[in-house]
């Protein structure tokens, strides 16, 4: 029988042990595509948080009503609905941000973090635990996007949240805001994450 984790551990696992980006390598499409600036990374992280938390709440609430044969189809419909709401909300209240994120908000529907958590967690756990799990995973995802966005924006444009932080001597590394820069940054951060993990295991 699976041991039940404490609420704190349930939340914290998303930040490091099961971090969706650095440990599970899930949600790579938005991670690479929208982290050219901090603000787009943060907006994507918050939109994903909204969808993940609400989908987990709904799926964990109705899990006993859904026949296993149609569970994935049902989860996708629920997820797609929340994604559409997030997309409409951004278009209505944060129009420039919605334009900057382009097709990546609708693409949250196929983000493996969301469907993965419904299948692996929300469909097998209580509403409360599913909420904490979704909150932890979302926070881990936001932190990962913020790390990538910060590095890429500072090195690629010399700014942080649009404010200049590098002196006039600094010549932006254009490659950092191009797709290649996303792969370089992600690869470097993954390498660091693996090194930290190995060091921790040796102790």
């Amino acid at each position: 029988m699976m041991a039940t984790k404490s609420i704190r551990a349930e939340f914290l696992k998303g930040l490091w042990d099961e971090n969706p980006v650095f440990r599970q390598l899930l949600g790579m499409c938005p991670t690479l595509a929208v982290t050219g600036t901090v603000i787009t990374g943060l907006a994507m992280g918050l939109a994903t948080t909204f969808v993940l938390i609400l989908s987990s709440l709904v799926v964990s609430s109705i899990k006993k009503l859904i026949p296993p044969q149609v569970r994935i189809a049902s989860y996708i419909v629920v997820i797609a609905s929340f994604v559409t709401i997030a997309d409409q909300f951004l278009k209505a209240y944060f129009y420039p941000l919605s334009k900057a994120l382009g097709p990546y908000v609708p693409l949250i529907v196929v983000n493996c973090i969301i469907l993965g958590r419904q299948e692996a967690f929300a469909s097998r756990n209580s509403v409360g635990r599913s909420f904490i799990d979704a909150l932890g995973m979302s926070t881990g995802f936001i932190l990962a996007l913020l790390m990538l966005g910060t590095i890429r924006e500072i090195l690629g444009a010399g700014t942080f949240l649009g404010y200049r932080v590098m002196g006039t001597w600094f010549k932006p590394w254009i490659i950092m805001i191009l797709p290649a820069g996303a792969f370089i940054t992600l690869g470097t951060l993954l390498g660091i994450a693996i090194a930290i993990e190995r060091k921790a295991k040796r102790r």
Partner: protein, 201 residues
């Protein structure tokens, strides 16, 4: 209840509930989204036609919208042309202004683009690109000036500056403007729009 009936029932219920919910959300946000798009177009028009106060759509076709702009006194301030075409990576939507006789381009602004950040995306920059679109000759074809110059005074009235390391994006914008100008001339020739009259199609 059989498994098949239960599956149909659950999927139908999920579809109906989420569909109804989404219809409500769409109703709540529709007006605001329309206003956002409208405001963006108005901002673009004001950026390219000085003294534009009242807009009227003269023509709306595939990838091309022509607006007639009136000033506060009710006189024609100029025309704004919104055009959409393919850029280096994805669609580019731009707006350029024409004077009241359609002989000069009064300015250009980019509404939407997904060109390469740091390179082609400089089509959005005033210093690098947009300032060179003021007072261009709109009676014939415009061409690109290469190598690029530093100030608009160094260009002929039929020339547009090239963005260093983003020649393709510069060319795509230029081609879109040339094509739109040609279409405007054809529409006038075919009497599909009239520049001084009250109504267009």
């Amino acid at each position: 209840m059989s498994l098949s009936s239960r599956m149909i029932l659950v999927l139908t219920a999920v579809g109906l509930i989420t569909g109804g919910f989404l219809a409500g959300v769409a109703k709540l946000t529709k007006e605001r989204i329309t206003l956002n798009i409208q405001a963006e177009i108005e901002r673009a028009i004001k950026a390219v036609v000085d003294e534009a106060e009242v807009s009227k759509v003269l023509y709306r076709g595939e990838g091309l919208v022509i607006y007639r702009e009136m000033d506060a006194k009710g006189q024609i301030a100029g025309f704004a042309v919104q055009a959409t075409g393919i850029g280096f990576q994805d669609k580019i939507t731009l707006m350029f202004g024409l004077n009241e006789t359609l002989t000069k381009i009064t300015g250009l602004t980019i509404i939407e683009q997904k060109e390469t950040p740091g390179l082609g995306a400089k089509i959005m920059d005033w210093e690098t690109f947009l300032q060179f679109w003021k007072n261009r000759d709109a009676t014939g074809e415009l061409s690109l000036r290469k190598p690029p110059v530093r100030t608009p005074d160094e260009l002929l009235s039929t020339e547009i500056n090239t963005i260093t390391a983003a020649t393709i994006s510069s060319k795509k914008v230029l081609a879109l403007v040339n094509l739109s100008l040609q279409k405007v001339r054809e529409l006038i020739k075919d009497k599909m729009i009239t520049i001084e009259g009250d109504d267009g199609h």
